[in-house]
Symmetry: C2
Subunit: 229 residues, 2 copies
């Protein structure tokens, strides 16, 4: 390849990384805002999250278009090829996480129509680890850090524990008083979306693992048997 | 390319299609069995679904490995390249649908521990359209049929309507008697998984659209604003 072409190729790969990072940053912001919109009963903030979701959708399309362009024009091999394939997977996963944030914001709107319910506050604890998992999974992608990816993957156990404890709290609320059923159901779905942010972040971690090692992430598959409902 | 290489290349693309079709067939079977395991309170069948899920996980890995091999060795362009990229996306989407089937089977086990609840039967109606959507989305992929893909995409409206009606039924059940809360919550999550089979099938349809037309599926994005919680 001529020097010029090599340079253009490098630029393309850099842009691909930058686009994924930008998607990730926006999505992390969406998660924060969506949780706040429930905690502060902030309708305006909830609408903001819902309205901004299309930006992440458009970024996914951009990543996919650039990835296909790189595959067609540069015909990458070995680790470059694996990076492009990982980018295709990760753009899809981040876009789904952004959808979860948007779903949480939709629950904020529904919760705003009914009286405040104390268990709402549990969400602020619950969201911390999944948000951190996403940040670290993206950082593992940016730096080819396979041990960070594995670390993210293991963090999901904590999320599952916290999530199950929170579910029990909501069930107790429903059983104690049937007037709580609406609020608890909305919170159940909000919590489920948060739990799936963690779950989806492990998928990003798995894509990073395959990208760096060239091996499928399967040997550890059997360690986990989570319900992702 | 020599005749020999062209032939091997064609074989690779055929194998890619066959793997996706096999994944799809297994997954459709899993959806049927999972629903039956709830309807018939069949613990053995539920365990069967949960235990078979790894087969679909392994097929996803096979698709991804073959796709990467084709990209590296054959360096496809134009519509062949788009087919390989679509296969990477679709293998991931089918694998997720299989996870939903497995989640439904897990709910069957939990529902088996409590007394039968009549609203269970609603699931057999609810599952019909999503299952058909998946079948048609895969057939659209196999035959490059963009109009079938668009048709699948529109079927999702019906799923949303049926799902919302079913949710109302479950809420009424919970409000009527707090003893129903457990059963209704499990059914709520089972129904949500079914609804997401439809949702995820529209994602396959979108991947087929992009594969055939070479354009991102975005112009119609704004038509739908579904909550995928």
């Amino acid at each position: 390849m001529s020097e010029h072409i090599v340079k253009a190729y490098d630029e393309d790969l850099k842009t691909l990384h930058a686009l994924i990072q930008h998607m990730g940053d926006l999505t992390i912001e969406q998660i924060k805002k969506a949780t706040q919109s429930i905690l502060k009963r902030d309708k305006k903030l909830a609408h903001e999250v819902i309205d901004e979701d299309y930006k992440i959708d458009l970024l996914e399309i951009k990543v996919d278009e650039l990835a296909v362009r790189i595959l067609a024009l540069r015909q990458p091999v070995a680790s470059d090829l694996r990076t492009v394939v990982a980018a295709l997977k990760i753009s899809n996963q981040v876009e789904r996480i952004a959808d979860y944030a948007s779903n949480i914001a939709k629950r904020a709107l529904l919760l705003n129509e009914i009286p405040p319910f104390p268990a709402v506050n549990g969400l602020s604890t619950l969201v911390k680890i999944p948000k951190r998992m996403l940040e670290r999974a993206l950082s593992a992608f940016a730096t080819n850090d396979v041990s960070l990816a594995l670390h993210v993957w293991h963090m999901d156990y904590e999320v599952d524990e916290q999530y199950n404890a929170y579910l029990r709290e909501l069930f107790d609320g429903m059983i104690a008083d049937s007037n709580n059923i609406s609020a608890c159901t909305h919170l159940l779905f909000a919590a489920k979306n948060i739990e799936r942010i963690g779950d989806q972040s492990t998928n990003i971690a798995e894509a990073v693992y395959t990208m760096v090692t060239g091996k499928p992430f399967k040997e550890n598959d059997k360690l986990r048997n989570e319900d992702e409902v």
